[in-house]
Each structure stands twice: as C-alpha cells, then as structure tokens.
Amino acid sequence: QDALTDVSIVVFGPPSLGAFLPPIIESQNFDEAHGLSITFEQRTPDAYAAQFNSGEFKVGGSAALLTVGLAEARGVEATYLFNLFDYWGAVVTTRDDVQSLGDLAGKDLAAATGTTNYQMFRWLAAQQGVDLSSVTAVNTAPPGLVGYAMADRAAAVQLWEPAFTSLSAQNDAIRSIDLNIKGAWSEFAGSEKIPYLGVAAHRDWVAENPEAVEALYAAYSDAAKFVMENPEEAAAIIAGDGTDDVRKNYTTLIKQNDRLGLNVAMAADMQEEIRSVYKVGVELDYLPAMPTDATIYGASGE
C-alpha cells in the first residue's frame, strides 16, 4: 500500500459553510480512500486569512473566491482549485413596511459589510436598481447579525447560511426578501452557477503536488455525494457536540440545496463563471484589478 500524502488544510470553524465537508471527510475516511491524510485546522475568518495568506497553511478549505482574487492583488500567489458552494445570501426582516429591497431606502440594514457575501449582495441590489447609498448600513460582526434580527433592532438584516436556517427555526416572524439571485446572475453571466466558496492553495504547493489536487477533489466530491445521499447522518456528523436543534437545522438545510448551494466542481470547469465573479468584484471596487488566470487552477485562458 502506498504511503498517504499529508495535507493540512485550514478551514473556518463551525457554523460556517466551510466547516461542512471536513467532518464528513474525516468520519468517512474519504481522504485515505484517495491516498491522502488530511488534517483540518479550524480558524475564525481573521485567523484564516492571516494564516493562509502568510503561507503558514498551503491549502485553505474556506476560500471565498473574491478573497483569492484580492489576495493576488496584495501579492499572495494562490489559486482557486475547485468550488464547493455557490453563492447564496438573504435579506431578512420582520417589518411589514419592508417588502422589497427598495423599501429599505431611508432605513437601516445590519450587515457584516467587510465580507464577500455582502459585496455580492451589493451587486445584486444594484441589479434591482436599488440605491444602497440611501440605506444606512450598520456594520456588525456575524454573531451580532442574528441578534439584530431576533431583537428587531434594524429594519432588515443581510446574512447567509447556516445562520439563516437557525434564525428562521427560532423566529417564525422572519421573512426573506427576494433578491432574484439566479435571475440576475443568469442575465449577467449566462449561467446559474455563482462560484463562491471553495478550496484554494498556494501555487508553489500546487506545482509540487499536482496529484494531491486531484485526490483532494475526489475526496471532497465523495463527501458532497455522501451529504446529499444521507442528510440526517451527515447533519449529525456536522453538528458534532451540538444540540438537537442544531442537528435539525442542518438536516433542513441540506435538504434545501438551493440555499446550501453545494456544488463541487473543478475551477477549470467553471472558468467563465469565475471570471464573471471577478468582474463583479472589479465593478464593485472590491478588487483593484482583474485577477490573472493564475488564480484559476487549470484555466485554459480565453
């Protein structure tokens, strides 16, 4: 038997989406099945960014596509290996006078304004013709967002999964405002797929371990398949020590893949979509320049 290749991957800690597949891979030994021995290290977003960008970890399992592009502009040579989740975001409210995004004009919206999810939301709002400059964006760390929604301290709250599921499970009054994600995106990119979160690696590591990339992809694909086929079991694994409520929420979420957006695909197979996302980033002034193709693993060029 061949010796296993060691890979250590830094990922967001639960409850973020980046923490979904790692426990499945670990518990089902999908890594060993493909000749890998993966150690997952959980980090908060700040620590993740610092430790991945500084090269301490060569592989990052919670790579927001836009941040890979941004990192390149800062001098980090990384590449987006494959996608795991497509974009999904929501604006929730409990107020009757807020039925559409346009109703937010002159009101306040709680959001984590530094995140890529919020950046994508800004673009979506622009597609609906909503002028966000008339909305007071109240910046709040993610744990505060749910608090805003629960205690009704803002007209609306912009957030994403899995916070959305646990929020709606706890508060019936929560309504989601239609963002027309798929529609707007199809029109812009000619595809329903919005690559958002995936696995990225430093290019020097990729050059040295081309076969490990394939194996990683295979392991993640197996994990995704397992999740879709065994929602309850997967939810239990993901929830770990969590309470029954948490487990139930995860099950609900997995069964609703339009919100979860699980979509494991090689970067090379969704180059166009990736470039479209980059274009959005540039349009929003989030990215200072269009990232090169080197940030898309296996890109064939236009």
Binding site: R43, T44, S54, S166, L167
Partner: protein
C-alpha cells in the same frame, strides 16, 4: 441545666451564623438571576432563555470531560498569561523606576503597545510565531503587560521613602530588600492589579483563542453565538464568570490574610 441551655444557645447561634453567611454569599447571584427572570418576562424566550435551560447546559459542560477540558484549558491560559505578564511587568516596572533611561525607552513603548487592539495582536501572533499555545500566551502577555507594568511603577513610586531608607540603612542584599520592603509595600497595589487584570485577561483570552485552538471557552462561545444558541452562549460565558469568581475569591482570601496588619479606624 443552664449549661445545656447555653450550649443550645451557642449551637443555634452558630447555625444562624452559617445561614446568614450563606445568605450573603448567595444574595448577589440571586439578585442577578432574579433580574434575568424579570427581563425574560419582557423579551421573547430566544433572547432571554430560561435559567433552567442555561443551567442544564452548564451542568452538561461541567460533567462532560471533552467540554470541561476546554474550561480548564482556558483557565490555564488566563493564569499563564497573567503570570507571565506579571513577572515581566514586575521586572520592567523595577527597571523603569530605577533607571531614567529604561523609563524613557520602555514607558512610551509600553504605551504604544497599549494602543494596539487585541485583534491586531492576533494577526501579529499568527505572522510571527508558530504553536497555538505560544501564540495565545503571547497575546495574553502583550495585552496585559502594560497594565501590570504601570501598576508596579505606580506602586514603586508611591513607596514610603522614610521606611525605604530605614531598611536601606541595614544594607540588605537586593533580595532581602525586595522581600522585606518592596514586596510588602507594593502588595496592596499588586493584588489590585491582579484583580483588575483578571477581568481583562478573561476578556482577551476569548479573542486570543481565535488564533486557532479548537478548544477553549472563547472558541466555544463564538460558536454558540454564531449559531445563536443563547442558552449555550450563556452557559459558556458562565464558565468564564465562574473562573473569575473563583480566582477573585482566592485573591480576597489572600488579601484578608496579607493585610491583617492594617488598622481600622473606629470612626466610619
């Protein structure tokens, strides 16, 4: 007969004393709990979960080794960070009071450090060091060091010069001078410094644990908050609170012992 009666009397007295002692010990916490329950009448249950839920979670944490070990790890980190910061702070404090040059170099540097938020230290720690525990201790030390140093400097500058010269006149060794004069003279302020920094350290540890431990109260707390599991978040917060209460109690016991020499004025 009367002997027995007085025995009974004193027994009753001591029972009464114990009850009163327990009452006063519990009173503040009962008040906090009561305030919580009152608040829960005005807020929906997912904001103010019932205390029963919270205590069920607390019980769970205390009795599950995998969870309780998180609490212990955090406690050790707080104590380790404080001890490190205190030792270093004491050395720097002595240097600052004794050398004009040290004062001019170190005081602004420490003030500089004071202005750097914990979050920035987290980033620096990640960039500069390897090893999760070392990083955490580094962050803890850097954030509590200026406080300890300034407290030690304040205490040293406030020492009674007459007593100091009296002790000096016996030509003690440095060590003797330190244990006989400096330590007892600055002890009150040092204990205050510990009391104050305990709170800060227990606050910073929550941030410091984000550099990448997959255990510890800070990590668990953040997770519960992101899941918006209020009962869980409170239960983990309470772990920190318990630790701080316990350690403060130890400090106050020590204080009572160490400051028994203090006179009390009969007035006020």
């Amino acid at each position: 007969m009367s002997d027995i009666a007085s025995d009974r009397q004193s027994y009753a007295d001591s029972v009464f004393d114990t009850v009163r002692w327990a009452f006063w010990l519990a009173a503040p916490f009962v008040l906090i709990a009561a305030a919580w329950q009152v608040a829960s009448l005005f807020f929906p249950p997912f904001l103010f979960p019932s205390l029963i839920d919270v205590f069920a979670r607390v019980w769970d944490i205390l009795t599950t080794w995998s969870q309780f070990s998180s609490v212990l790890a955090t406690a050790m980190r707080i104590l380790g960070g404080l001890a490190g910061a205190f030792l270093l702070g004491a050395v720097l404090g002595v240097a600052i009071t004794n050398s004009r040059m040290a004062d001019r170099l170190l005081t602004p540097t420490l003030t500089f450090f004071q202005g750097i938020p914990a979050l920035s230290w987290v980033v620096f720690a990640i960039i500069w060091f390897h090893g999760v525990e070392f990083r955490i201790i580094f962050i803890m030390v850097m954030t509590t060091l200026p406080a300890f140093t300034f407290q030690v400097v304040g205490a040293l500058r406030g020492m009674d010069k007459d007593l100091l010269e009296m002790v000096m006149s016996f030509r003690p060794s440095r060590w003797k001078f330190f244990t006989a004069m400096v330590l007892p003279a600055v002890l009150p302020e040092v204990i205050t410094a510990w009391k104050v920094n305990l709170g800060n350290a227990s606050r910073v540890v929550v941030v410091a644990e984000l550099v990448g431990s997959s255990g510890g109260v800070g990590y668990q707390l953040l997770q519960q908050q992101q899941l918006f599991d209020m009962a869980g978040a409170l239960a983990w917060t309470l772990q920190l609170v318990f630790f701080v209460l316990l350690f403060q109690w130890i400090l106050s016991q020590f204080e009572q012992f160490a400051f028994r020499y203090r006179s009390k004025s009969e007035r006020s």
